[in-house]
């Protein structure tokens, strides 16, 4: 019986270098990340190379992708947020491709490892903090002091705001990680039911139709979750960037 956690195991493929006790190796996770980046770059470069006045099908898809992310930034951050367009677009497309690649059979889900999502979330958190201090100096600290709050509850609100600011990378990363992890475990558990039932004889094979149908339905749901979580990660990045541009709400 295959256990449902096995799919998240990181395997060393090639050891590149050794620094002290630490090993720098090419893992299956790294391979999938390289493939994801290659797929995105090849698609975007290949589809926009002709730069036709009337775009073809593939070019239209990449233009729609661009417009989708651009509208998201303009809506949540404002037009000045467009200088962070490359960051948001890279995050969105990377998470989208990594999530959907994990749904392929025998695929490895890069975003179901917390080390990856924490790195992405810390990147966003540090970008927001640095950009906020860069643009507004110490006025950036106004994000902790919302306007229009009566003096007597202000200290409590400031404590809450500071806490919620520093807890952002935690919720930002664990949301993506937990959604991908839980979905894939559920999928593999139901797939395991098919094997267990069909091993029980002719009646079991007919009984296995039910978990098979559920697995297909869950795969469709997982596709929705994969796209939705990429969108959620990107829009939260935009909302956090909004604080860097407009502190003090």
């Amino acid at each position: 019986m295959v256990d449902p956690i096995h799919q998240f195991q990181i395997n060393k493929l090639v050891t590149i270098a050794k620094i002290g006790a630490h090993e720098i190796a090419l893992t299956n996770s790294a391979i999938y990340m390289i493939v994801a980046v290659t797929v995105i770059c090849a698609f975007l470069i290949g589809s926009t190379r002709s730069r036709a006045l009337v775009p073809g099908r593939l070019e239209a898809v990449s233009e729609m992708l661009y417009e989708f992310v651009a509208d998201m930034i303009r809506g949540a951050t404002g037009p000045e947020g467009m200088q962070f367009f490359p960051l948001v677009f890279a995050l969105f497309s990377f998470i989208l491709v990594a999530n959907t690649m994990g749904l392929l059979p025998y695929g490895f889900t890069v975003t179901s490892n917390i080390v990856i999502t924490v790195s992405l979330a810390l990147l966003v958190f540090l970008t927001v903090t640095v950009a906020g201090f860069w643009k507004h100096g110490l006025h950036f600290l106004r994000i902790f002091v919302p306007s229009g709050i009566p003096m007597y509850i202000l200290p409590m609100v400031v404590v809450m705001e500071v806490f919620s600011f520093f807890v952002r990378p935690v919720s930002h990363s664990v949301r993506l990680f937990a959604n991908m992890l839980a979905g894939h475990i559920t999928l593999k558990v139901f797939a395991g039911f098919i094997i267990m039932l069909s091993a029980a004889g002719v009646l079991g094979i007919f009984g296995a139709i039910l978990p098979l149908a559920l697995t297909i339905a869950l795969t469709a749901l997982e596709l929705l979750v994969a796209v939705l979580q990429a969108y959620v990660f990107a829009i939260l990045t935009c909302i956090y960037l909004n604080d860097a541009f407009h502190p003090g709400h």
Partner: protein, 75 residues
């Protein structure tokens, strides 16, 4: 009590918090749907706010999940 048993019971209790966040997420989507049916033309403009409210509410569920995961694997 056996400390390992207590650990697993604690992880289970921590997951109860996710139920409350589930009620919250349901309320958010339910009210969005009710508002969208009343005024469909305004629905698309509020979609980012819907996702933001959903994300903030879900963060609370994530904290209790985090406690459960920490109890299971880190403690």
């Amino acid at each position: 009590m056996d400390p390992i048993a207590a650990k697993y019971i604690g992880a289970g209790i921590a997951c109860i918090g996710m139920g409350g966040a589930g009620v919250g997420v349901g309320t958010i989507f339910g009210h969005y749907l009710a508002a969208a049916v009343r005024n469909p033309s305004a629905a698309d403009g509020q979609f980012p706010r819907l996702i933001f409210g959903f994300a903030v509410t879900e963060a609370l569920a994530i904290f209790s999940l985090l406690i459960a995961l920490l109890l299971l694997y880190a403690v």
